[in-house]
């Protein structure tokens, strides 16, 4: 791997010499890449190659054993507040409380992101994600795919520059996959960035960068 050059650091998101060890396994090392506005990065790799671990490190949830993740030139672990206000993370566990309705779920997400609750906007976003009529039902009675749509609605009500998504297409039906694709395309067009893992080939139009972890 080449040593990081200045242009890499100038990108909003840059990863420098990242290494991840889980237990006794070296998942990846010497990982360098950067991401610019309007780019989407798809992380590929076999099961257990460290895709989820990489996403969690990028989101600031886990620590890497070596290397840094830089956001606008600053280490994300040292500037958490600045970084977290720009990032949305959609993990394996969706963060949707099953005892709360979609609206209540979004309400708390908005409060955590420090954005004022606008009932009209929330209902509009829920309609856009295909949850019209289910806004006030407890999320427990929703299907796995519908819960995922609630999590997607969170990405829309809390504007973030960088979306980090772990397997965003699982559990979704054909229209759901189309919805995610549409959301991603819109996000990239507005100058947003996205990092995602997926087993399916993603047919998102735009500037797509691929990283394969299995290749080392």
């Amino acid at each position: 791997m080449p040593s990081p050059n200045p242009t890499l650091i100038n990108a909003p998101l840059a990863v420098v010499d990242l290494e991840c060890i889980r237990g006794d396994n070296l998942l990846f090392s010497g990982l360098n890449f950067s991401l610019r506005e309007g780019q989407l990065m798809q992380i590929e790799g076999a099961n257990g190659s460290g895709k989820t671990s990489l996403l969690r490190i990028l989101a600031g949830l886990s620590r890497s054993s070596e290397g840094q993740v830089l956001w606008e030139g600053e280490d994300i672990l040292k500037h958490r507040t600045a970084y977290f206000s720009q990032v949305a993370y959609l993990g394996h566990t969706l963060g949707v409380k099953s005892d709360l309705s979609p609206v209540e779920n979004l309400k708390i997400s908005l409060a955590l992101a420090n954005i004022r609750f606008d009932e009209e906007a929330v209902y509009r976003v829920l309609e856009q994600t295909g949850l019209a009529g289910k806004e006030d039902m407890p999320a427990r009675s929703l299907s796995a795919g519908q819960k995922q749509r609630v999590a997607l609605a969170r990405l829309l009500v809390c504007p973030a520059k960088l979306w980090i998504m772990d397997e965003p297409f699982t559990a979704l039906d054909v229209s759901g996959v189309g919805l995610v694709r549409e959301l991603l395309e819109g996000h990239l067009q507005r100058g947003g960035m996205a990092v995602l893992t997926s087993h399916q080939a993603v047919e998102v139009r735009g500037n797509i960068v691929r990283v394969n972890l299995s290749d080392g």
Binding site: G60, L61, T81, T93, L94, K97, L100, A111, L112, N114
Partner: protein, 222 residues
């Protein structure tokens, strides 16, 4: 900042309200331990009066520990905890909101039940007043200290035993000063010293425990 604190507290109270049945568990546990003592030890009034402060406080302590175990559990399982950790809001403030909401639904009911249990064990009036005062200061203290242990063990499959081992030693000073105050009040002695000590512990826990809980959660989730 305060907005998120309020919203999270409201959410937790709402969730607790939607699981009303589970709320009764620790309270029932508290009630059961205390009421079994006269049956198991002796119904003799002088003896009961003597052991009452200890019995009620030990029951409160165990009930607090018992109820705390689930403080972060469901949030950990459904990923809400990750979202909390990724909020730009200060995490220590958010965990304080959760602990406060938890105390309101678990500690406060114990506080309301305690005078009845005091009467049941034939405690004199000044002792019941002292019991209420020590519980009012002591139960939030138990919640705050306990939450540190819960945050550390939330990622473990069977963290229950470890939690008890971690937390019990830290609970002991609270137990000693609180029961001592109640016993002293029953004997007609001043209790200001013990109360001040408990209050200072509460202030210390209120300021430092949220930071420790936040740090522990980051470790558990990573």
């Amino acid at each position: 900042m305060f907005q998120a604190f309020k919203a999270l507290m409201k959410r937790d109270l709402l969730l607790a309200f939607r699981h009303r049945g589970e709320l009764a568990n620790p309270l029932l546990f508290f009630f059961m331990i205390v009421t079994l003592f006269p049956l198991g030890v002796s119904p003799e009034v002088t003896l009961l009066r003597k052991i009452a402060p200890g019995v009620i406080w030990i029951a409160a302590l165990l009930a607090a520990l018992f109820s705390l175990e689930n403080l972060f559990r469901s949030d950990f399982e459904d990923g809400a905890l990750e979202q909390m950790l990724l909020s730009p809001q200060p995490l220590s403030l958010l965990v304080l909101a959760k602990v406060l909401a938890h105390w309101l639904v678990s500690g406060l009911p114990m506080l309301l039940l305690a005078p009845l249990l005091g009467l049941l064990l034939a405690m004199p009036e000044p002792a019941i007043a002292a019991l209420e005062l020590t519980l009012a200061i002591g139960t939030p203290l138990l919640s705050l200290i306990g939450a540190i242990g819960v945050a550390l063990t939330v990622g473990l499959r069977r963290g229950g035993v470890l939690l008890t081992l971690l937390i019990m030693p830290l609970y002991i000073p609270v137990l000693i000063f609180a029961t001592n105050a109640v016993t002293a009040a029953a004997a007609g002695m001043p209790i200001a010293g013990q109360i001040y000590f408990l209050a200072s512990l509460l202030v210390l826990a209120l300021t430092l425990a949220p930071l420790a809980i936040a740090a522990a959660l980051r470790i558990s989730v990573s």
